[in-house]
């Protein structure tokens, strides 16, 4: 079980895809205020597959929303490459998501009236950019979607739908792909398949993926696991295995947490 300190967020901008500095999110006011995120400093390196883990209510979803520009922070900064997300307005954030961020959702979220191919083409169409045909072919063959392109979502299995969703997320070569419990609605075999694809897209296609999950087995596919507890970074595990992740999570539940910070 190797636990390492996260490197301080200084000279990392060159290599970091996503970075949070003192990121804080408070819901509500006064007595009922809930500190969902409490001064989080974390960096996700480019070309890396990172998993965010933590118990329910630890703030992992909130962290992802803020890093992806889906929600606004109460304090602190979130950076996507050299761009400070926390300084952008809604339209700027929308354009940024469109051009530089990809999403994979737990419920796939394909548009039911469009075919797999049309769904994949949506992000580039939204930004009015031309679809990179070569890149799409690579994605289609890597994800094994060749004979499914003209199918509509309801004609595809869950695993196939999620593969289309991954292809969609990667189609614009985004700076980072955020995956929210991508295996949550899949059986274990499809889940394994999807996770392998995510890992391959990082290793072979050079993409950057940040995945939120509560499944240690899923997290084990990542290059690194960031642990979150009570809105704060609680540790980090490099080259995780299911066992090391479980142990890390167990450690979080100890009253006197021994997790190294």
């Amino acid at each position: 079980m190797t636990q390492t300190l996260p490197t301080p967020p200084t000279d990392q901008s060159a290599r970091s895809a996503v970075r949070a500095v003192g990121l804080t999110k408070i819901y509500g006011r006064g007595d009922v205020a809930v500190h969902a995120l409490d001064g989080v400093d974390v960096t996700f390196a480019s070309g890396e597959f990172t998993a965010i883990m933590g118990p329910s209510g630890s703030g992992k979803s909130t962290l992802m929303h803020l890093l992806a520009g889906l929600d606004t922070a109460t304090a602190g900064q979130a950076w996507l490459g050299g761009t400070e997300l926390t300084a952008l307005n809604d339209d700027q954030l929308t354009i940024l998501r469109r051009e530089r961020v990809g999403f994979v959702f737990q419920s796939f979220n394909l548009l039911p009236m469009f075919t797999a191919e049309q769904n994949m083409a949506l992000p580039s169409q939204l930004s009015g950019a031309k679809l990179d045909k070569e890149w799409t072919d690579v994605l289609v063959s890597t994800l094994g979607l060749g004979d499914r392109l003209t199918h509509k979502p309801h004609e595809l299995s869950g695993g196939q739908q999620q593969r289309v969703a991954i292809a969609r997320a990667l189609s614009t070569k985004p700076d980072v792909v955020f995956a929210d419990e991508p295996t949550g609605n899949l059986d274990s075999r499809s889940g394994t398949e999807v996770l392998s694809f995510l890992r391959r897209s990082v290793r072979e296609l050079g993409q950057t993926i940040v995945m939120v999950t509560h499944d240690p087995a899923a997290a084990a596919y990542a290059d690194r696991v960031v642990l979150l507890a009570d809105g704060q970074i609680a540790g980090s595990i490099s080259d995780p295995t299911p066992e090391s992740v479980l142990a890390g999570l167990d450690a979080l539940r100890q009253p006197a947490a021994t997790v190294v910070r």
């Binding site: 889906l70 419920s107 979220n109 939204l126």
Partner: protein, 856 residues
């Protein structure tokens, strides 16, 4: 279960409210129609009742007048307090300010027989005294103590033998009733003088009615029996006031019933559209509640309970909407009566709105019934939700395919209806030139209306197939952008819902466009007819053809604002000898100055050359084109000409100026013809022309007085009548269109709710707020325009068919496209589609893209 129903209603209050508006408008229409009709009937009833004061019995002579002794006989009956003749006659009375024709009655012998209440002064009890209604007195400019004069002709044996002028002193004023129908309430004369004048002015002593008042406490039945037994009134009918009023009102009510039927026909269109909107809303509500319904089934709710819950919800919605609709309809009628009262004081409308029990009852029953019936299909859908559905995640319900049977039915009905419609047109046109053109018109109309209804049903049934085919075509016009593409895809996603939404619009728009097209064609046809029979807009001519119009008069006509062109005519009398020797006098005309083509709306003069004569009709003589006729002028000059029959007037002929100069070189210029500018106001122009001519006549006593005529005013009047009728009809149908547009907004907001997660996904993937708004706007506009377009095309065809059937007999049938109304429909559809998307878009935009990540 009731608690669950109410909770669900509360949760969907917004959507139900939107659906409720549809029913509300429909029921308001029904309530307003019923109340307006009842108000008119009440006004009629009141008016009759008012004419008979508080009489206990009214005697009405049937075949012979009452004799002079009748009144004495009646007065002698035990229990009769008083009896008066029921009579009034009109006199022109001149006061200080004005003169007016006033209906007068005799001073009653008993207060119970007084029509109208004395407000001031005393009754006219001596000859020379007059009581006037306060409003009449005000208009005449007289008050109590003033003297007025009146004059009337004396008739004897159907001849005027004398003329009398009399002075009367005003001694009392009656309360102004402002009641158009109530007779004899304009004023009263002393009974003896009244009788004398009445007999003098009418030349007869005949009386056709009498009013009778009973003694207090008299046995009404016994007194009535003794009166009925009188031999002098054996031939007359004896009725109590309520009996009589009912009889008279019934006679007058025929038109009220027609009014009610027409209004209710429009109301049922509105309700049918409302029903479609309700069905749609409830279907979506049920679809949205699938999980809740399944949960209810899981915990033991039976199918019957589920059905009862949905229908109960509909009934409750129906009750609430109908009550508000009733209030709205009542408000409209009350407001309308107030407005009419202010606009036309003392007009025929009643001032009281009678609230009969049946108005709320009928309105509520109709409103609730339509709502519940419309919810039947959704209720069945709800019962088919399996309990296990509660345990499954819901992924956007897949719309079930519509059946082949439906398609066959739709095509059959459309084709059959279209054939019947075509048959109706063919029948009417085929018979239009024959003697049985009325039969052709009515038969064609019956066949056409039936065919139209059947084909419309086919169209509505088939719209579920048609609309999804049309939407992508229209969608392509909306642009190539991704939001537009998604909007188009969204619009066809749910063919049934979209079809039901557009159907509501199709009905409304088809009727609106049909009426507009029909009116437009009627207008064109009538105007074309008018053009050929009265080709000149304005004509000013001398009445005696020996007089000549002055140059100043010609200039005045030419300089009148709105006059585009002027031509003048010379006229002379001449004798015409036909080929068979028949000789008659005719008026020969010829253009003196100006271009006749510029002032005539027909080319009747085009056939004229130096060898021809245009001849209008001659009484009882058949003319043959091509015959040679001889024209003999007053000085005996003869000329042989070829006859061409033309619509130039009776015993009137037209020749070229050359021919005319040879026959009557010194004939005067007698007529000025003028054509108006196309956009000029006919009435204003002819008024201006008339006053310009009047000024000239006043300045120059030598100038002849010109009579102004022409078809301009008639054309304007025709147009105005058609436009007014059309405006009323469109106003009534507009309610249905408004309801349908509420339906579009409703459908759109339901779609937004259903697609919460999808829209959030798009937002997460980079759809800006503006693009999301645009996407919904495109969807709204697409749905509204497709419905409007289908409705407009159907309406245009129905309108043409109807015009061909009804107007085919007029000969020069002109089918037109009412571009103005079509343009208005298009603008309204696009605007309404945009507006319909505003509120849904607002809630959709507020949604955070984070919702895309929510699992449920």
């Amino acid at each position: 279960m009731l608690r669950a129903t109410l909770d669900q209603m509360r949760a969907s209050a917004g959507r139900l409210a939107a659906a409720g508006i549809a029913i509300l408008l429909g029921t308001a229409f029904v309530a307003a129609s019923l109340l307006a009709s009842a108000t008119m009937e009440q006004a009629t009833h009141d008016a009759f009742t008012a004419s008979y004061a508080d009489a206990d019995l009214v005697v009405t002579a049937r075949s012979a007048p009452l004799t002079s002794s009748t009144l004495a006989d009646i007065r002698a009956v035990d229990g009769v307090k008083g009896a008066d003749i029921e009579s009034y006659f009109g006199l022109e009375i001149a006061g200080a300010d004005a003169a007016e024709y006033v209906a007068l009655a005799p001073t009653p012998s008993d207060p119970a027989l007084a029509v109208g209440t004395l407000a001031e002064g005393v009754e006219a009890t001596a000859p020379g005294q007059l009581v006037l209604s306060a409003d009449v007195a005000e208009r005449l400019g007289v008050d109590i103590g003033d003297t007025v004069s009146t004059s009337f002709d004396v008739w004897e044996n159907n001849q005027i033998t004398d003329s009398r002028t009399e002075q009367l002193r005003v001694v009392g004023l009656l309360e102004a009733t402002g009641n158009y129908f109530s007779t004899g309430s304009g004023g009263r004369l002393e009974a003896g003088q009244y009788d004398e004048w009445r007999i003098a002015a009418s030349g007869t002593d005949d009386v056709w009615g009498a009013l009778i008042a009973f003694e207090d406490g008299a046995d009404a039945a016994a007194v009535r029996a003794s009166i009925e037994a009188l031999p002098s009134i054996a031939d007359a009918s004896v009725q109590t006031l309520p009996e009589l009023a009912e009889e008279r009102t019934a006679a007058e009510t025929g038109s009220n019933v027609t009014f009610l039927v027409v209004m209710l026909a429009f109301a049922s269109v509105a309700l049918a559209v409302a029903g479609l909107v309700i069905t749609n809303t409830f279907q979506v509500l049920v679809a949205q509640r699938t999980r809740t319904l399944a949960l209810l089934r899981c915990v033991g709710a039976s199918r019957a309970q589920i059905r009862a819950s949905v229908l109960g919800e509909a009934a409750l919605l129906g009750v609430i909407a109908s009550v508000v609709g009733l209030a709205l309809g009542t408000g409209i009628v009350l407001g309308g009566v107030k407005v009419l009262e202010n606009l036309f004081p003392g007009a025929l409308l009643g001032t009281t709105v009678p609230f009969s029990w049946y108005v709320p009852v009928v309105t509520l029953i109709v409103g609730i019934l339509v709502t519940v019936l419309a919810a039947l299909v959704p209720a069945r859908m709800a019962t088919q939700v399996a309990p296990v559905a509660a345990l499954r995640p819901i992924e956007g319900a897949v719309d079930e395919r519509s059946g082949r049977g439906r398609l066959v039915l739709a095509i059959t009905a459309s084709v059959l209806g279209a054939l019947m419609l075509a048959g109706g047109v063919a029948l009417a046109l085929a018979l239009s030139e024959t003697d049985s053109s009325d039969v052709g018109m009515l038969g064609g109309l019956a066949l056409g209306v039936l065919g139209g209804l059947i084909s419309l049903c086919g169209l509505l049934i088939g719209s579920v197939f048609l609309i999804p085919k049309l939407l992508p075509v229209l969608g392509r016009l909306a642009g190539k952008g991704t939001p537009a593409r998604i909007a188009t895809a969204n619009a066809v996603r749910n063919p049934r819902r979209t079809a039901a939404t557009t159907n509501a619009l199709v009905i409304g728009v088809a009727l609106v466009v049909m009426m507009s097209t029909g009116a437009y064609s009627a207008r064109q046809t009538l105007l074309t007819e008018l053009d050929s029979s009265f080709p000149v807009d304005l004509a000013a001519g001398v009445s005696d053809t020996s007089q000549e119009v002055t140059q100043a008069q010609i200039d005045a006509v030419r300089q009148t604002d709105g006059v585009a062109a002027v031509a003048t005519l010379r006229t002379s009398s001449a004798d015409l000898t036909l080929a068979d020797g028949y000789r008659t006098g005719v008026t020969v005309n010829s253009v003196a100055e100006g271009d006749p083509d510029a002032v005539m709306r027909s080319d009747v003069l085009a056939d004229l050359d130096d060898d021809t004569i245009l001849l209008g009709s001659l009484f009882d003589v058949t003319l043959e084109d091509g015959d040679t006729v001889t024209l003999t002028s007053a000085d005996g000059t003869e000329r042989d000409l070829t006859l061409v029959q033309a619509d130039v007037g009776r015993y009137a002929a037209f020749v070229t100026p050359e021919v005319f100069a040879a026959l009557a070189p010194d004939a005067p210029v007698t007529t000025i013809w003028a054509q108006m500018e196309d956009d000029a106001d006919a009435i204003a122009v002819s008024d201006a022309l008339q006053s310009a001519l009047n000024e000239l006549t006043a300045a120059d006593p030598e100038a002849p007085v010109l009579q102004v005529g022409g078809s301009a005013i008639e054309r304007a009047a025709y147009g105005q009548v058609i436009d007014t009728l059309l405006a009323v009809v469109l106003g009534l149908l507009g309610v249905a269109v408004v309801i349908a547009l509420v339906g579009v907004a409703n459908t759109l907001s339901l779609s937004v709710l259903e697609r919460r997660r999808e829209n959030a996904t798009l937002r997460a993937m980079g759809l800006t707020r503006g693009q999301l708004r645009g996407m919904l706007a495109v969807e709204g506009v697409l749905i509204a325009t497709v419905g409007a377009a289908v409705g407009a095309i159907a309406g245009l065809l129905y309108g043409w068919a109807g015009a061909a059937i009804v107007l085919g007999g007029l000969g020069s049938l002109e089918l037109g496209v009412p571009w103005l109304q079509l343009g208005a429909v298009a603008v309204i559809a696009v605007t309404a589609g945009l507006l319909a998307s505003v509120l849904p878009a607002r809630s959709a935009v507020r949604q955070s893209p984070v919702a895309a990540l929510a699992t449920d």
